[in-house]
């Protein structure tokens, strides 16, 4: 009679990495729905392409490493990477954009470093930055909110546009991005940035139709939807509050100071919070545990760095939004943050 030998503890909480990852991509669903409401059905096609690419890449790597192809999806981390990247890119971008970005994220950023848990950089954001610096035109051609567009796109139109660059009626993406007045529209942050550089004041710049509803048409609600999903993750204890709080504080505090001193030529803290990729970045991207700092204190500092960098790049940098760059830069700082934020262990002077 022999019995099973196992190391203690013998009890386990029933929450697996797979479940953690599932919560993350379930929590972005409100954001995806709002996204499609304002920017059309493109997001679904991008998600499909991203997931397909991610699966093929994962399966190929598993194969090369001599593991079962079926284990490719096992921990669902590749799904999270694919979903986040698909949400981040302009939803009518050509099909090869998302394919290149996802393949780079999975193959190079994740697996070349050793796979899940070993990568130094956030895969989705490294993929995004690769695309942004390589294909700046495609990566900044955001569709205008449907509420402001002349033409409404069907699913077939969207597919045609993504796969060939032209809608069924023969319109190019560039033509479709024109507003009712025929002028191509940029995202709120891009538009504001350009206008400020043209010596307009913030108040004047905010007169454009893209700022029609609060924090820009579509973008405000999109950020609210990501905020909602993020709060669900915190409530479910999938993420801790330290990183999102750090990001939002690191962004808001300097932005508010700057805005108080120079309201005519700066982005208001409100617009900072509710536009661009702020909420997506704070709750879904910066919170990637693999590439974040280790201790809670370190994570708060990590968040602060990201928030401050977003504010700095948006204000003085060369790009309208900055979450991807900020996250990658903070990733680089993680070893230093970890070194100086190791918590005081029991019996090492805390309460002796």
């Amino acid at each position: 009679m022999t019995f099973k030998i196992a190391a203690s503890p013998h009890a386990h909480q029933r929450r697996t990495t797979t479940q953690v990852m599932r919560w993350v991509y379930l929590a972005v669903i409100p954001g995806i729905l709002v996204h499609s409401y304002f920017f059309g059905l493109g997001i679904f096609l991008q998600l499909l392409l991203a997931l397909l690419t991610a699966w093929i890449c994962e399966a190929a790597v598993m194969r090369v490493r001599g593991r079962s192809v079926a284990s490719a999806w096992q921990d669902h981390t590749a799904i999270v990477t694919a979903v986040l990247l698909a949400i981040s890119i302009p939803s009518l971008a050509p099909w090869w954009i998302i394919v290149i970005g996802t393949a780079f994220a999975i193959l190079v950023v994740k697996h070349v470093y050793g796979g899940v848990g070993q990568n130094l950089f956030n895969p989705a954001m490294a993929g995004y930055v690769l695309l942004l610096v390589s294909f700046p035109v495609q990566m900044t051609s955001w569709p205008i909110p449907q509420q402001l567009a002349q033409l409404q796109l069907s699913l077939a139109d969207t597919w045609q546009l993504i796969s060939s660059g032209y809608s069924q009626a023969g319109y190019s993406l560039e033509q479709l991005r024109s507003g009712i007045d025929g002028v191509t529209m940029a995202t709120p942050l891009d538009s504001l940035r350009t206008d400020l550089s043209h010596q307009l004041t913030t108040a004047e710049a905010l007169q454009k139709p893209i700022f029609g509803s609060f924090a820009g048409v579509g973008w405000g609600y999109l950020n609210l939807a990501f905020l909602l999903g993020g709060l669900v993750l915190i409530y479910q204890r999938i993420i801790s509050w330290h990183i999102p709080a750090g990001v939002l504080l690191g962004l808001t505090v300097p932005a508010t100071l700057l805005w108080l001193f120079n309201p005519d030529q700066s982005i208001s803290p409100w617009l900072h919070l509710m536009s661009g990729a702020t909420m997506l970045g704070a709750f879904f991207i910066a919170t990637d545990p693999v590439t974040a700092a280790t201790s809670n204190k370190g994570r708060f500092i990590f968040g602060l760095i990201i928030g401050a960098l977003v504010m700095v790049i948006r204000t003085w940098g060369g790009y309208p939004d900055a979450v991807a760059f900020a996250v990658l830069l903070a990733n680089m700082a993680v070893p230093v943050i970890d070194k100086y934020s190791q918590p005081l262990a029991y019996g090492h002077g805390g309460r002796t």
Binding site: S8, H12, V116, S240, T352
Partner: protein, 542 residues
């Protein structure tokens, strides 16, 4: 180090410790019925070492008849603890047998065939122990073979022998590990004896204040202690009850100290360094038995629980009883199916799995857990760490378990020391919450063992080096001494000669000088003869 905050402690304030978890307690399974007495087994296997430290010297031989409570070993010079015969019978064998240890290794044991009489060895009860001196009490506690019954099995007399100023004696009745109810039932049924044991401990340690800590999930035990203390005003002025909130691992020594006093035991230090001493309720009971009744430690309460047992509950089990006998009595039936049955000695968090059931119950056996595969699912395949940090949030030692895990896998021993690996208490909270099902504690144990090994090897190498250097030094010293001896001998000889010359004897130097003079004279004569011969030859030729 500042003094502990006595006034806040006296006011009943409780503190909290970092982290902790709330696993399903499952204590109702075994705490509903009174403690039953397990019928005597036919044979007993008594390991000679059942505590942390060294074993004693064996006093019996094969074939000897022994009685219940008779010492089988005596503490040797190495600060061991004796073990006692669990019942009367004959010594069958003294040999190596498998013991209850995670390694499954064997150790020296004394096998006893019970005669069924359960005749007792004479005891020396001492109800008026107040008359005994500290040394006498310590001696009796030692002779009764009492080791900490909470889990570590450290000899209690040794712990009590340290003489340092104490603020509080803490009696630990927290029993925070799921499933286990041995202390719970003991407190419900033997509260008076535990209080008596506490008073003995206070007398021995010279401490006049004690705290009895019980977790809030044991309302019956709390009620009994509250009642007993309220009935005895004199005792209640010295012993106070504290209800500790339910959280694992509140019963860990360091964690309980933080809860009750708001202080932390310094790293690598002892509770006594902050003026505290902690004993388990089971130990307090055993000390009462040993001093007041004179009965040595030959039985303990063992919880037998889990869904694979028909009669879960608590049992008085004589030490040395084979686990198989206890499980058969409690109605254990093995799970069938693909996943193998686990037999866990201890609780689900810190217990270890037994490979076979012939191992005996020993002093630190508080529980046998026979889970079904649905209540405690077997471990899943380990996945990669995603650094989610859930482990750090629950770590009661405030470590970073995921960092330790990476470093342990990389065998970065310096990094592990820097991350305070040795402050890990192996409570298992990190592995419990890990979503990737990484057996974290296993990695830490392995790393600790490797570091200890390296230290041991280093110490050995150091000794070898010292011996080599000592030898080199000795050889050099001997050489110098030899040369010195030669020099001295030469000088002595010269001095003796000089003395002899002065006394009128022939100076050997004179003989040498004379010989030299003779040789010079001979050379001069030869030279002169040669010159003469030349002169005459030249004369003849010219």
């Amino acid at each position: 180090m500042s003094a502990i905050n006595i006034s806040a402690i006296e006011a009943g304030q409780l503190w909290s410790f970092h982290g902790g978890i709330h696993p399903p307690e499952r204590k109702q399974l075994s705490n509903q019925t009174p403690i039953q007495t397990l019928p005597l087994s036919k044979t007993f296997v008594v390991p000679v070492k059942q505590h942390s430290g060294n074993s004693g010297e064996i006093l019996v031989a094969v074939g000897d008849d022994v009685r219940a409570g008779q010492p089988l070993t005596q503490p040797g010079l190495q600060r061991g603890l004796p073990v006692h015969a669990p019942t009367s019978g004959t010594v069958l064998a003294i040999d190596e047998q498998p013991i209850a240890h995670p390694s499954g290794l064997t150790d020296l044991t004394i096998t006893l065939a019970a005669d069924g009489q359960d005749a007792w060895y004479p005891t020396t009860p001492c109800p008026d122990y107040q008359q005994l001196s500290r040394a006498e009490l310590l001696e009796r506690i030692q002779a009764a073979g009492i080791a900490g019954l909470g889990g570590a099995g450290f000899p209690s007399a040794q712990k009590l022998a340290l003489q340092r100023p104490l603020e509080y004696l803490i009696i630990n009745g927290v029993e925070c590990e799921p499933y286990i109810t041995a202390d719970d039932r003991l407190m419900r049924e033997h509260a008076a004896e535990i209080i008596s044991g506490t008073e003995i401990l206070m007398q021995v340690s010279g401490c006049n204040k004690a705290l009895i800590a019980i977790e809030e999930n044991k309302p019956e035990a709390i009620a009994i202690f509250t009642q007993l203390l309220s009935e005895r005003a004199a005792t209640a002025s010295r012993i106070a009850l504290r209800q500790v909130p339910v959280k694992y691992p509140s019963g860990g020594e360091k964690q309980l100290i933080e809860i009750l006093t708001g202080r932390q035991v310094p790293s690598r230090g002892l509770p006594i360094d902050v003026g505290l001493l902690m004993h388990n309720v089971g130990t307090a009971f055993a000390i009462h038995q040993a001093i007041v009744l004179g009965i040595p430690l030959i039985q303990r309460v063992v919880t037998v629980t889990g869904e694979q047992v028909d009669k879960p509950g608590n049992y008085w089990v004589r030490l040395g009883t084979p686990v198989a006998d206890l499980l058969a009595y409690a109605g254990f039936h093995e799970t069938t199916g693909k996943a193998a049955q686990r037999v866990i000695m201890g609780g689900p968090m810190m217990g270890f799995a037994l490979a076979n059931l012939q191992v005996p119950v020993v002093k630190i056996t508080n529980c046998l857990l026979l889970p079904s595969t649905t209540e405690l699912a077997p471990a899943q395949q380990e996945m990669n760490c995603i650094r989610c940090g859930a482990c750090a949030d629950v770590c009661p030692a405030q470590l970073l378990p995921q960092q330790l895990q990476w470093l342990a896998k990389a065998k970065d021993y310096d990094g592990l020391e820097q991350q305070n690996l040795f402050d890990c208490i192996e409570c298992g909270a990190c592995a419990y919450v890990c979503p990737s099902e990484i057996p974290l504690v296993h990695y830490y144990r392995k790393a600790k063992a490797e570091i200890r090994n390296i230290a041991r090897e280093k110490a050995k190498a150091e000794i070898a080096r010292e011996r080599f250097e000592a030898r080199q030094e000795r050889l050099e010293r001997e050489k110098q001494e030899r040369l010195e001896r030669h020099r001295q001998a030469a000088e002595a000889r010269k001095a003796a000669q000089a003395e002899a010359v002065a006394a009128g004897a022939d100076n050997p130097q004179d003989a040498v000088q004379a010989a030299i003079a003779r040789a010079k004279a001979r050379k001069a004569a030869q030279a002169a003869a040669a010159a003469k011969a030349n002169d005459s030859a030249e004369g003849e030729s010219s």
